[in-house]
Subunit: 326 residues, 2 copies
């Protein structure tokens, strides 16, 4: 029984979560994978910041150093943005490493290329952590809904936006104050643009679209609207009518094309996403046999996202010989 | 590319759903399994009832006739009750058939034996359809949550009870009238005892317990209470306080033992099961890394249950060579 050597690209909240979770769940990983998982290297940006990692761990700003590690098998990519994440993932695949990514901006654009590249090199690319945080929507759709024709996916994919809308309604706060609370809680970035303008949810929706429908709608045709135009008055008016604004990402088949939108939608209590509150995410899937099912849970956060990455490794790693055989 | 020969035990609502779904999703099954699935035989109880099946399908009351079919590969078991379901499944396994069951009463008691027997004979036993109807909770827990330590499962597992509670609250109906509506809709049996007394939810909870914790609590120690003692006054009193009665099946680790209960519980709006309405089921899983996730959807019905059985075949069939290798 050997050791599975893994490297971590990025050591922000998610990267640190993976590092800690691999250590705290060492026994469970060993039981599942038949080998211990060891994080042997961490790629960082700022070499002057102190990192809380074991002495034997290589901490470097140079990705080539990581690629050169003999016997490296797994790369966890937890960098933000298209580049250098994409190039690093491509190189890791070429080196024969399995790649587990949480990078939604990169994967929305380059997912197809990465998956093709991985197939050609006989390795696994897991992207569960890109979408809906800890909720295992990607692999549930991929493995548990293989026969159903999926007609539509409707989802709450940005925890920050959902948290802000919940705060506005429950505490009668104006948008700016609710946003400030989200930032205090660490949900929203200092620059919350991607969250509140709908770009983050858009990327996740495009990832779901490729998985469910085998393609994406023309990005320019997708209506993307954030929650930043909603006022407290809007939210209160809706509440009086028994409705709620939810920031909903929606993609469905329309004849031979795909239609998608990401925007605030007024929903009634019987809507599956009405009761999804706070930083939770939820994905509703409409299938030809199953009807409508909804998966909900924490849409972000250190350990939920780490959970998605580690479960992805445990589930995917095993499946590789089978994947290649198909 | 050959044909996968399958037999159907039982031709009630679920059995008919599987029969129709296999036909309507022929292409999807072929794409996933590399072979067409054909229902070649149906086991019935009443030989005088007309059955809407193809001419080439063997319709029989004699299980031995089905077992004797050359090259039979899959048995869908959709009979109600411990026997003869259990004996039939054991014999099918011995004959080398994969078994996909929807029989919760049987599987709650004999699941462990069936799974062991299947392992010994190199076949797959799928039981997704026993629990939470179409919602893929069994395989999500089995395959998507392999690293997380699951500490607790709380669930709404009986659609009829949940429907009755929803009707009572929304329409201010007494229990008996809500039950009558459930029966008119075909949700509750003529003898609704198993549903409203909590026995159905108990069986499903025991199935989840074995899966999640590798065992079941002592059945005699589990508090099982149905919704039949709840009055409209109880429901209305709760509503005034902003609470709802939900019939909750709950199992969790307590030291070295397992504790479980199945009973009406008052829950506040922030509870994950508060908003689960009508005939829906939902399962909330508490994991060490993931936090709390909830899977919700139709808890019963012809096509949701058929969906669970067919997806189980598609997912499990592929996995068999790998399962045996482990």
């Amino acid at each position: 029984m050997g050791t599975i050597k893994a490297a971590l690209l990025g050591f922000g909240t998610v990267g640190q979560g993976v590092y800690e979770a691999v250590r705290s769940h060492r026994q469970q990983l060993k039981a599942r994978l038949g080998a211990e998982v060891e994080i042997v290297a961490v790629l960082i940006k700022n070499p002057y910041k102190k990192r809380d990692v074991g002495r034997s761990v290589l901490v470097t700003t140079d990705f080539e150093e990581i690629l050169a590690i003999p016997g490296l098998e797994v790369v966890f990519e937890a960098i933000v943005g298209e580049e250098p994440g994409f190039s690093y993932c491509m190189k890791a695949i070429e080196k024969g490493c399995h790649v587990i990514t949480a990078n939604k901006v990169m994967f929305a654009k380059y997912g197809e290329i990465l998956l093709e590249h991985a197939k050609a090199h006989g390795v696994y690319v897991g992207y569960e952590a890109t979408t809906a945080g800890g909720v295992p929507v990607i692999r549930t759709i991929a493995h548990q809904l293989q026969v159903n024709d999926i007609q539509r996916v409707q989802a709450i994919l940005n925890g920050t936006s959902n948290f802000i809308l919940t705060e506005m309604r429950e505490k009668h706060l104006p948008f700016e104050e609710a946003l400030a609370i989200a930032q205090q809680h660490g949900y929203a970035e200092a620059d919350p643009g991607n969250d509140i303008e709908g770009k983050d949810a858009f990327c996740k929706l495009m990832i779901l679209s490729r998985l469910v429908f085998g393609g994406q709608p023309d990005w320019k045709e997708v209506e993307v609207e954030g929650i930043n135009a909603l006022t407290l008055a809007d939210v209160e008016k809706a509440e009086k009518k028994g409705l709620r604004y939810k920031h909903i990402a929606d993609v469905y088949r329309y004849g031979d094309t795909l239609k998608a939108s990401v925007k605030p939608v007024l929903v009634p209590p019987e809507h599956a996403l009405y009761a999804i509150e706070g930083v939770n995410n939820a994905v509703t899937i409409y299938g030809s046999l199953i009807g409508k099912i909804t998966l909900a849970g924490p849409g972000a956060g250190k350990f939920p996202t780490a959970s998605a990455m580690i479960e992805d490794l445990a589930g995917g790693y095993r499946r590789i010989p089978q994947m290649n055989a198909i």
